[in-house]
């Protein structure tokens, strides 16, 4: 059956990508991965996933496009305003007690969430003593994130979200609009380190007070989710904070016991004090 073949071809393709390029999608949730790859062969002029596998093995130039398809960056600024409102009201007061701060935006994609965090910390007077690590596996996404340039037609939605999140001023204070694009203030860049990091294959690189990783875990299967949550636990200082997506959960991970719920409805957790 064709459907049966697709499962075999998919697995072989992911193995090939891992062996050749060391990107590990083998622990990604199958349903979304399959959907993203449904039309992939056609886009690369192939009939099947097997032919696509042949192509990416022998034509490295074709790989970045496939990587972008596999990591489909979908993000917006201040997505779920109540999450950012809770960060502001429940987490920031505790972050203020640290003389210097490190924040990890894991799976930052094209940067919308990173700038949201930076703006929030700036508005709360904390950005000057904060370093934000923004990591992703897709170098093209990281490049876009570092540029901080977004289409102007998306800004109205961002502005509305920012206002609902408890934004202290207008979002327009933070960007310059020209030629249909909004360029976010370069001063934010000085507080952000953009870096290539895989939750599937890399390890912890710093101790941080806050990890924000939203709508990344939904793309992972149980084992990979567990690996990622373990990295967050290890990266966080005692009593550090973890924010995940509004429909994500820690309860399927054995590492959940390392955390207590701080604001459950916004999926903000705090690492326990004990080791």
């Amino acid at each position: 059956m064709a459907a049966e073949n697709i499962d075999i071809e998919l697995r072989l393709l992911l193995d090939a990508i891992y062996l050749k390029y060391h990107y590990d999608f083998r622990g990604y949730a199958a349903a979304s991965l399959k959907r993203r790859l449904t039309n992939a062969p056609g886009r690369f002029g192939c009939q099947t996933l097997s032919q696509l596998q042949d192509k990416v093995l022998h034509e490295p130039a074709a790989f970045p496009a496939l990587l972008s398809l596999l990591t489909v960056p979908v993000s917006e600024m201040f997505r779920d305003p109540s999450y950012f409102r809770s960060l502001r009201e429940k987490v920031v007061p505790l972050l203020r007690t640290y003389p210097s701060l490190k924040v990890w935006a894991a799976g930052c994609s094209t940067g919308e969430e990173v700038y949201s965090l930076a703006i929030l910390l700036h508005e709360e007077g904390l950005l000057e003593r904060t370093l934000i690590y923004a990591t992703d596996i897709n170098p093209q996404s990281l490049q876009k994130a570092a540029a901080g340039v977004y289409a102007v037609d998306r800004i109205a939605g961002f502005t509305e979200n920012h206002r609902k999140s408890g934004g202290r001023t207008s979002l327009s204070d933070y960007y310059t609009a020209a030629y249909g694009r909004a360029v976010f203030d370069k001063s934010f860049r000085r507080r952000i380190v953009f870096s290539d990091h895989s939750l599937a294959t890399d390890s912890v690189f710093a101790e941080v007070q806050l990890v924000s990783c939203r709508n990344v875990l939904i793309y992972f299967n149980g084992d990979l989710q567990n690996r990622a949550v373990g990295l967050f636990r290890d990266a966080l200082c005692r009593k550090g904070f973890l924010g995940i997506g509004m429909k994500e959960s820690l309860r399927f991970s054995p590492h959940a016991q390392a955390f207590v719920e701080l604001v459950y409805e916004d999926r903000i957790f705090q690492k326990r004090n004990e080791p």
Binding site: A31, S32, R35, G222, Q225, G245, M246, S249, F252
Partner: protein
């Protein structure tokens, strides 16, 4: 296939898609689902994305079955209704368990009926029933076709009885549905599915 009796004991999952007029249609259909229904029920109802969904709260008191908003990695339970959360696609993954994604909109919609139906067809195959109800765009037409291709059962609300018939007409253009029925007829069919489970319970003579 068009014989209800042939479906008895065969359906593990029911996927329902609807948009405009959907709350009213589901208010007729869901309360009609009997407590003995073994199948799990997955629903995509297009709603304004920024509003928190109260669907589970609204339907819980009206239904004999458990009603939940879908969460990522939730294990699928029999006899339970799952609503896709606003602004997330709902998919079925191996297990079966629920999966969510924020991939791009499909037919201007997230959640999208096509996304749910296609992934559910992949997991459940011929043990899936897909139902398209009232709605104002053509999301769901490709998904229902996928369910049909996988050997599942396809049901479309009779266009004349739909508050907004665009969605059901689009589905019927793609797929010659196994059943085209008004809401009451669909409700009756789902009740018939449950009334015979377990199968040994039913020794009633064939009607007609």
């Amino acid at each position: 296939m068009r014989d209800v009796e042939a479906l008895q004991g065969r359906i593990d999952a029911i996927a329902i898609g609807t948009s405009a007029g959907g709350v009213e249609a589901l208010s007729i259909l869901l309360p009609a689902l009997p407590a003995g229904l073994r199948a799990s029920v997955f629903i995509v109802l297009h709603l304004p994305r920024e509003r928190p969904s109260l669907l589970a709260e609204i339907f819980t008191p009206k239904c004999a079955l458990k009603v939940k908003e879908a969460e990522d990695k939730m294990r699928v339970e029999p006899g339970t209704v799952y609503f896709a959360p606003p602004d997330y696609h709902l998919l079925l993954d191996g297990g079966p368990q629920l999966a969510l994604s924020i991939d791009e909109l499909v037919h201007f919609s997230r959640p999208s009926i096509d996304v749910l139906f296609e992934s559910a067809a992949d997991i459940y195959g011929e043990r899936l029933m897909g139902i398209i109800l009232t709605g104002a765009n053509d999301d769901g037409a490709a998904g229902l076709a996928a369910i049909h291709r996988a050997g599942g059962v396809t049901i479309v609300q009779e266009p004349d009885s739909a508050q907004v018939p665009l969605m059901v007409l689009a589905a019927l253009r793609r797929t010659a549905a196994d059943f085209v029925l008004p809401l009451e007829g669909i409700a009756g069919l789902l009740q018939a599915l449950a009334s015979t489970e377990p199968r040994t319970q039913n020794t009633s003579s064939k009607s007609e």
